[in-house]
Symmetry: C2
Subunit: 462 residues, 2 copies
Amino acid sequence: AKKSTPTLKPLEPPPADHRIIGVQRELFTTSKYSPGSAIFLPNGTKIFNRLTNFLRSQYEHYGFQEVISPTIYKKSLWEKSGHWENYAEDMYSVSGHGAEGKKEDRQVGEDEEYGLKPMNCPGHCLIFASKKRSYRDLPIRYADFSPLHRNELTGALSGLTRGRRFHQDDGHIFCRPSQIRDEISKSLDFVRQAYGVLGLGSYRLALSTRPADHFIGTIAEWDNAEAALRESLNSTQLPWTLNEGDGAFYGPKIDIILKDSDGKEHQTATIQLDFQLPKRFELEYQAPAPELEQRGMTTNDSELLAVEGSVTPVMIHRAVLGSVERMMALMIERYDTSWPFWLNPNQVVIVTLNDTPELVEYALKVKKTIQSADNRTTAGFPYSNLPQVNGLSVAIDNNPEPLKKKIADAKSKKFGIIVVVGNKNIDQQNINVDFAGLSKSQYDVANHPILQTWLEGQSKPK
Amino acid sequence: AKKSTPTLKPLEPPPADHRIIGVQRELFTTSKYSPGSAIFLPNGTKIFNRLTNFLRSQYEHYGFQEVISPTIYKKSLWEKSGHWENYAEDMYSVSGHGAEGKKEDRQVGEDEEYGLKPMNCPGHCLIFASKKRSYRDLPIRYADFSPLHRNELTGALSGLTRGRRFHQDDGHIFCRPSQIRDEISKSLDFVRQAYGVLGLGSYRLALSTRPADHFIGTIAEWDNAEAALRESLNSTQLPWTLNEGDGAFYGPKIDIILKDSDGKEHQTATIQLDFQLPKRFELEYQAPAPELEQRGMTTNDSELLAVEGSVTPVMIHRAVLGSVERMMALMIERYDTSWPFWLNPNQVVIVTLNDTPELVEYALKVKKTIQSADNRTTAGFPYSNLPQVNGLSVAIDNNPEPLKKKIADAKSKKFGIIVVVGNKNIDQQNINVDFAGLSKSQYDVANHPILQTWLEGQSKPK
Ligand SMILES: [Zn+2]
Ligand SMILES: [Zn+2]
């Protein structure tokens, strides 16, 4: 038989890989001493902080209160929460030397084994339980950015997508059964707003319902909760799919699934009802007509309303970004060299024509002016004489190298705005600005008051 | 003998105790499940975040770059750094279940024991070592707010002053030997600026020098370093004392000591030279005339300058706040009910005359107006249609209770500004403002543009 000549297909560029881009662009690095824990370099830390600060800025609107909860808890807490039994293989265990009798003066038993937290839920339950709560106080919504640890297999580790240490924009809502639908709707709205800002394209919603066999709570409770989730999903007017029987044994959930640049799906946000943990932690609040209240019902019967009693709150676990690290991986692959200006770690660079002391000093002055255009980062902060920054990241390149090379370097680093200063600019007290790094859709940014302040008299972006 | 009648002294009020105030004011709480780890409640978290954000805002000026480094490192790292030998009793050890053969598919040895980090220095050394460095890149200054853990004895635990989990405004400077004096001076200047803002009164400086017997490095190196520290101390024009021979074996240091409200001294900030860790981590940078460079000397000899070689950088550990928790303890005892406005967790409250839906809605509108007076918290953030906040914390009290009781409650919580709205205010589209909670020295705050925006047409502070 005649052999067919193989046709040569042109090589496609390899798909974007955040592990390669992230290291190339000096966003993060890794170390053999802590596999699975990303080390965020200065530029990666900028993106990380801007993402979490963006979330913080929305918390006020959505009624979340940030808390800072411990990293390690005694084994007995994880037994109470059920993690020690159900999640033990993924947890790290922590012990002091006292437990092994290695330290003098150590009291017997004081060094009970600890678990390194894989999630914040039990800690937030402790905060809820630290005070008497009334139905008037609910919903109470806690948010937490603590680092979390899960003991993933070495083979499963994959850059920022799956690590052993990661951060969540973790939140827990404690609400009345009658508030479930409202809270789910608000959470879905939060996701919609945030994902619009991050610009990662459309996402998919999936509802997972009561498992056939193994579940806690009554079927009526599940039916109510699932109905609330369905109504909330329908009111988003987005398509959603059903994973029948795929909920956790402790409650139904909604997953938000995002496609990466290759079309591969990643579960990012999640909204999860939990009937179990509040019971395990014996959480309660006081309400009139407690039996109806527990079933999510209201009444006008004054006799029933006259009696207050204890009710178990519903707990909703929810994360908008999900793992901040995983979200950053998706963004790095998506944006690589074209970050939106507000997330770009390389926002502004001031390039000097030479390295004479006068010019270097002038560059510093320009940097200060740019950064103080809006110096009210800390609300009510009255020390106007102190150097403050508006969060704009401004670099200076005063290396003794040719201007051409320095500008080429700034362009390759994808600076959003390149400012060039020479000795003439000192005389004229102005600057030359190149907006080449801003895409057309970002021109608005350059028209932002922050930049206007120092752009007065300068040429407008092309 | 005749017994003298004891004279009754009037009872003095007990000294302020942050552990009592902190719980009363709902700043933090503790749990038996994690002794020594403060759980910051929403109001405590606000203070924590404002302190760390204040530090961040100064980092730009002082040339620090924030990084986020891992929480756990393999035992082998702590052996390399010397902590496993010298600090082991204070460290927590971490292990996955794989190490004990509890998890299937676990590779042998992949679960080497880890240490929970008690400090960030080794991690920052890894970051320095992750890239080739030139003398032109130095100084490199990394900052990190990671949680740290030290296994303190139960008996030694004391609220926020001494815990097992704490955060530092930790920083490490990698510099050329010739840059030591400059870096120490800048660090002392940073301390002076920051402590001026925090308003905790005067502090004491103490220099600790080379121990008599056990030290590393040459006597010439120590003499140079100590001379640099002395010169920097003298140029502060503040008094300082000498702790002869009290330095660590790896380098001399300056401690900053603050008095609490009872006059008790607390070591807070520290600036510590380290000749050892850079050697243990084989850190290096390239420089001309490396032998002179290593001794902190410069030359014009073109023959010597023609040869580049490896030089070991000097490492400076420095913290301005020191433990954020301990600093908060001092501030809580000092300020209790009179926080400076920018740190006050209870900045503004809007009290409604009644709980009619119109008025509750108007209160929400006022809240939004106040918080959007300056909505540029995220630099260059172009989504002006999204709810953003300026960081001002604004509460609403729309409980169906008498106005008098609500105002009394707001005053007892020491709100800086109390806004009262009734239905008349809806018609007139204005508000009534009470600045009673602002002390005279804080009037400037009320004149700040943030507040002016929504105060137009309102009465000025008394
Ligand atoms: Zn959770
Ligand atoms: Zn250190």
